[in-house]
Symmetry: C2
Subunit: 344 residues, 2 copies
């Protein structure tokens, strides 16, 4: 007779609950391991500079839809997603390994297209593809990438470093990738209903590009260095601004206020959100896949940061133990809510 | 009208053909990248020691069968497979990242079991779990692990370093993991045909353990260091001895001879191969998943190596451009044949 085994649904834990659970049961033994689970990347002391390491897995039908994602873009984006995590440590990306599992419906030419995208990202970000593994899969395409980067002991930036009164900054604009995805999904539905209809995407070029071919903000890492600014905390925006703000609040132990009227949202995002009956602020807060950088700087850096292009000041770090809040146009302060994946 | 696109089946290329194709289209740009695609691990110069990085992907139904592979063992083995690649560079394993994609048939308790195995391997090999990612999948379990290790500039060992007259050595014994898998498959078939039958595995303990819970030979790395032996070339045996010998031959540009009567095969492997109508030499040459180390040493190290326990001398490196050959008991020298996965 089999004994009754307790079975808890993973959905009950959620992504962040699962990470916490793994983190809590993990001990580190090597003095070189400076930071394990719990930031954008692990940090390894190699004896001279630090090496930062980040790894992500992307699954067909969960993270991407090949019916509107060309394989070359997918290769590019898979690399970028990991390079973005390296940038979020204030580090310079250096190497990548790429693991693939794919079913026999993929041809050699299809794999070539994917690697052309990887290669193009490697060229743009001066990163080297140094290894990986390829296997068959029983269904679909799974991509697992590990990125490595380099940073000095002085410059490495953790989520935990934010302190009271620090200024909260974000690069680029938010919500466009999410809206691009909604447009792609709508056109796919139209096409499936009537294959003679051609997709009308030209009006949404910017949004679609933000979704299919995002860029990592390594330019900002260089810009901040040149301006003599060392962020106190940094994270990249993959799950959405609100989720990343909550990580910074939690890891630093501080509250924060951001102002909804300061959120950088592109005009086309506003217009498209309206067309799709979506709230542009919610898209900016919870859309995700922006791959912009969210970071905090000391008040003393205000004069330096305010003139830098493509960086928006959206709020402040508040006292220890405080809440993470969104201050609305009407002056109400409402608590931010977390979003991780909930795809179980 | 869609244009005709050429589609070549991946099976035509095979694993090694695919790796060559990716390698050939890859350039490296960072001076820190000492070795990219083409060895057990990539090698990164961090300014003091070298960091070696290896990454593997394991797919349910392709690489493992959960009907006889407990999740804890699977976690352990997944870590070991990657740690073994680090050992094959003559390096000390230090860190791991673990990416998982899993369907909702896995419970939180199942994931806990898997991570218990990872954790146990981390403890045994003094390795730190430093990061990773977890995602849902539409079917089955996919595991992608990246291992990192440390080695000095002087001690790093590549596949390419073998030279004429070097002695070819192998650790442990070969073929047992493959035979263990055959036994497990046989018992599974019996069970499926008649669920009242209990599996009879106790006679095959050693073989089954070699398959379900292999170990990486980091002990040999320490032993060789202590004995003052620096291997000229090294590789771990994952695809089978013959395949790994061909890698050393190809990368070093030399031929080699190994002797079939020298191959280390356990008595139980002999007996079981006979019972299953398999040739024990073929199991040792092509079985794979032994995770033993195959390495070459200079003739001058003969006196040092011959007394080391658990190391067998199986042959010699021959002249540049020669063939990789197996010398049989009858004195015939037959060319070795490659085996990679062919599961597309």
């Amino acid at each position: 007779m089999e004994k009754e085994v307790k079975k808890t649904d993973i959905g009950n834990l959620g992504e962040f609950g699962l990470i916490e659970r793994i983190k809590d049961s993990t001990v580190t033994r090597n003095p070189g391991t400076k930071k394990g689970i719990g930031d954008d990347a692990a940090v390894i002391d190699t004896g001279s500079n630090l090496m930062v390491v980040s790894s992500d897995i992307l699954v067909e039908e969960i993270h991407f839809d090949l019916s509107f994602m060309p394989l070359k873009h997918l290769g590019y984006k898979s690399a970028v997603v990991n390079i973005s995590d390296i940038a979020a440590m204030n580090a310079i990306p250096r190497q990548l390994t790429v693991n693939l599992a794919l079913s026999n419906r993929f041809s050699v030419e299809a794999i070539d297209e994917f690697y052309k995208g990887i290669s193009s990202a490697c060229e743009n970000y001066k990163v080297d593809l140094v290894g990986g593994d390829t296997s068959s899969s029983t269904s679909g395409l799974i991509i697992s990438i590990t990125a490595m980067g380099e940073v000095t002991q002085e410059e490495v930036t953790y989520r935990s470093g934010a302190k009271e009164n620090d200024i909260i900054c974000v690069t680029g604009d938010l919500g466009a990738s999410y809206l691009g995805l909604q447009v792609l999904k709508r056109e796919k539905a139209v096409y499936l209903a009537n294959p003679d209809m051609q997709p009308e995407l030209s009006d949404f070029d910017y949004l679609v590009k933000r979704h299919l071919k995002p860029e990592a903000r390594t330019d900002i890492i260089h810009e901040l260095k040149e301006a003599g600014i060392k962020p106190t905390a940094m994270i990249d925006i993959s799950d959405g601004l609100a989720s990343e703000l909550l990580h910074i609040a939690k890891e630093s132990g501080h509250g924060l206020n951001i102002h909804s009227d300061k959120l950088p949202i592109d005009d086309l995002s506003f217009k498209t959100a309206e067309e799709l009956n979506l709230d542009p602020t919610t898209c900016a807060l919870n859309g995700g896949e922006d791959y912009e950088l969210l970071f905090t700087v000391d008040q003393n850096d205000y004069e330096k940061i305010k003139y830098l292009p493509d960086i928006t000041l959206i709020g402040y770090i508040t006292a220890k133990g405080g809440d993470a809040r969104l201050v609305t146009n009407t002056g109400d302060a409402i608590p931010l809510k977390a979003q991780g994946w909930q795809h179980f």
